[in-house]
């Protein structure tokens, strides 16, 4: 018994001493040894064949101290530090940052990637491969296509908070209530890029001057074909696109008043879209069913909402706006020959055999596909009042 006890004591000491050396701290990175990158921008460098990578590093000491009024890119007490390096690939360029950064760049908390227009036109896949491949990054981060230089977006003035990349990431997430921009995260963007026939879309960001400050505004949706930026759709068309694909969060439809030059706002509560292919004698018609539930949220003229005729008329006017937006975006996409709606996927899923026959000719077929848009609108309520604040 005593022998056993001695034995187990030795074992205990042995195993306890193991814990001294195996604290699983091999690849540890202490917080004060890393430079946390919150956003990055990829540009073409001025030297030929090189790319310029800009990383926005957060200065931990400044985050709390800088407050609201001292922010701004490049300033001495800015909360962030933008480094730009040039190189042949993203990976080596990111490593080159160690030449200027006293702390090791840490990519895991990256929130947003900005790609310049030039990079996107050249083919975005080659410039984003490392960000998809690297295990440190999370695929839920946002993607913005910059009009012009990508680094400018990171250098612009942060509006709320003092880290511009966080602002950009939140900006992308905040598009639900307006639905003028199709915002994507890296995962959604790359999964469409992998498709042979469906075209990817991404939000376009632009530096604009508002009351003397250079801030970033989202100004449209970029359209890709085979991984290359080929064009863009404007806000109206983007909303049509979101209606069609059923990704619309909420929005406001402004319709004309019947008897005056003013307007009525209809707030969309829920909207859904469904694409069904119909193939009759080799002629493809895409039936697009959109159903909308909306509230009357604003009236600039006195239209009697107790009359069901008026409600029907309002809904008809709303349908007209929506269908014109949807038809416009279909026309634009067919002109650019980019299947951003996933018509090809819909045919593939519904009629796999037919799809096999037409797959290779899709580029010739898509511009001439017929569509029929069916919109079903319903009204929910008129807010807490029943008519405009005006005597009858």
């Amino acid at each position: 018994m005593l022998k056993l006890k001695k034995h187990s004591l030795i074992f205990l000491i042995f195993f306890l001493s193991i814990t001294l050396f195996t604290t699983s701290c091999w690849s540890r990175r202490e917080l004060n040894d890393i430079a946390i990158i919150m956003g990055a921008a990829v540009d073409k460098a001025e030297e030929p064949d090189l790319l310029a990578l800009t990383a926005q590093i957060v200065k931990p000491g400044q985050i709390g101290a800088a407050g609201g009024d001292t922010g701004g890119g490049g300033g001495t007490d800015s909360a962030v530090w933008n480094i730009t390096m040039t190189g042949k690939t993203n990976q080596i360029t990111a490593r080159k940052m160690n030449l200027v950064s006293p702390r090791r760049p840490f990519w895991s908390h990256n929130k947003v990637f900005v790609f310049s227009e030039a990079v996107s036109r050249e083919g975005i896949a080659k410039f984003m491969d490392v960000w998809v491949r690297d295990q440190e990054l999370y695929p839920t981060l946002g993607v913005i296509i910059a009009r012009g230089k990508a680094a400018d977006l990171l250098a612009a003035m942060p509006t709320i908070g003092n880290v511009q990349s966080l602002n950009l990431a939140e900006l992308l997430e905040n598009q639900g209530p307006i639905s003028y921009i199709a915002s994507n995260n890296l995962f959604e963007f790359t999964s469409v890029l992998l498709s042979k026939t469906t075209s990817a879309v991404a939000a376009i960001g632009e530096v604009v001057e508002k009351s003397g400050q250079k801030i970033v505004m989202l100004t449209g949706t970029a359209v890709f074909k085979e991984g290359k930026l080929v064009g863009e759709i404007n806000e109206r068309e983007t909303r049509g696109f979101l209606f069609l694909t059923g990704k619309l969060g909420s929005s406001t439809i402004v319709v004309d008043c019947l008897e005056s030059e003013y307007y009525t706002s209809l707030e969309i509560i829920t909207a859904s879209g469904k694409i069904t292919p119909q193939i009759v004698n080799d002629e493809i018609t895409m039936v697009i069913e959109i159903s909308i539930l909306s509230d009357v949220s604003e009236q600039m003229c006195n239209e009697n909402l107790f009359s069901s005729k008026m409600i029907i008329s309002l809904l008809q006017r709303q349908n007209k706006v929506v269908s014109s937006e949807v038809n416009d975006v279909i026309k634009k996409a067919q002109e650019m020959n980019t299947d951003i709606f996933g018509f090809s996927d819909a045919i593939h899923k519904k009629c796999p055999k037919y799809w096999k026959q037409i797959e290779k000719d899709w580029d010739e077929i898509f511009p001439y596909i017929k569509t029929s848009v069916v919109i079903d609108s319903k009204m929910r309520r008129t807010g807490v009042t029943t008519r405009i604040v005006e005597p009858e």
Partner: protein
């Protein structure tokens, strides 16, 4: 006695087998990329093939109650051929165990890229060696703890990803030719259900041999359900992008994002993979050690634990160059390589057993 009689209850046996099958999740999820959205069908075919192989094993087992594969081999094939077949079986088991060990090295270095894989392999094999020294009963009890943990990981990730799921990804339902599905189904069987042959090695340790059939089938079906859950999750969440991913489950779990609060849960998947692989490697390790001891007519298998462990470490480092080779090996070589072990030799044994059985009856 090498193998204590009636050591583990049949319910534990089910737990061990399910956890063992889940140990190959990582390779199954990569293999099902071959059939994209129809992985569920390939899995069903795999279960069908798995049940057929299981029936063969069971019929052999029933003929020789209280005997394990080593003894059956010697009885049916004679002293020398039987020993030879046992040796190649032991090689097969040590080979799979080493591949799994390598997976541990590769997968953990994905998370901790600067640590040499040998560190993980070494600490992992020490754990396995400790389990093996304590015998099959301890491995069984470990699986009782591990399976609920892994099960809750699967359910949790499934539940948290429901909002990201798009069940349109399963359309078109039947697109690929049936032959592709059969091939992939066979690959899945060879890496999971087919390896169930190892239960023949520790069958005498079960307390109620009569209930083996029921618990084996239950284990196969439950393992299939869990694998199905994992595959459905991956396809519904990842869609077409599954084809370029090395670890689809890892990417799927990375996408979990509940209101920016529940994020970065990928480490749970790593835990689950390590835990199930622990049972898989321990079981294979135990069987190799036990079989070798029986072959050499040793009184105890304990002296063999460390030497065989070190052979497995070296093999795990030598067998493969880099991770994609494991994938290539699994889909191109393993279906043929494992055929004799998982179906060929068992069939021959079965025929011999039936033949011998008849002759014995006649003599009587």
């Amino acid at each position: 006695m090498l193998l204590k009689d009636k050591e583990i209850p049949v319910s534990q046996f089910t737990f061990i087998l399910i956890t063992f099958m889940l140990g190959s999740t990582h390779i199954i999820t990569t293999a099902t990329k071959l059939v994209e959205q129809q992985a569920w069908l390939a899995l069903l075919l795999a279960l069908g093939e798995g049940l057929v192989t299981a029936l063969i094993f069971l019929t052999i087992a029933k003929r020789f109650p209280g005997k394990n594969l080593v003894e059956i081999n010697e009885l049916l094939l004679g002293r020398y051929l039987g020993k030879f077949v046992t040796i190649i079986y032991l090689w097969f088991f040590i080979h799979i165990a080493s591949l799994e060990l390598r997976f541990i090295g590769d997968f953990t270095t994905l998370i901790l890229p600067e640590t040499p894989p040998l560190v993980f392999i070494l600490s992992f094999i020490i754990m396995c060696a400790s389990a093996v020294r304590n015998g099959i009963e301890v491995i069984g009890r470990c699986s009782i703890v591990i399976l609920p943990l892994v099960f809750s990981e699967i359910l949790l990730s499934f539940g948290l990803l429901i909002k990201d799921m798009n069940f349109d990804n399963f359309l078109p339902l039947f697109e690929l030719p049936f032959s592709d599905l059969l091939v992939t189904g066979h690959i899945i069987t060879t890496v999971s259900f087919g390896q169930g042959i190892l239960f023949l090695m520790f069958l005498p340790a079960l307390n109620e041999p009569k209930k083996v059939q029921r618990s084996l089938f239950a284990a196969f079906v439950l393992a299939l359900l869990l694998l199905m859950l994992i595959n459905v999750r991956n396809i519904a969440v990842l869609g077409g992008s599954i084809e370029i991913l090395t670890y689809p489950s890892y990417q799927a779990v990375k996408l979990i994002n509940i209101a920016e609060i529940l994020t970065r849960l990928d480490i749970l998947l790593v835990f689950a993979e390590i835990l199930t692989t622990f049972i898989k490697v321990s079981l294979l390790y135990y069987i190799v050690v036990l079989g070798t001891a029986q072959l050499l007519k040793m009184d105890s298998y304990l002296p063999l634990v460390l030497p065989i462990g070190s052979i497995m470490i070296s093999l795990s480092l030598l067998l493969l160059g880099f991770y994609l080779e494991y994938f290539k090996f699994t889909i191109h070589v393993f279906p043929l390589y494992s055929f004799p072990f998982e179906l060929g030799i068992p069939l021959v044994l079965l025929l011999l057993a039936l033949f011998k059985g008849k002759r014995q009856q006649k003599e009587e």
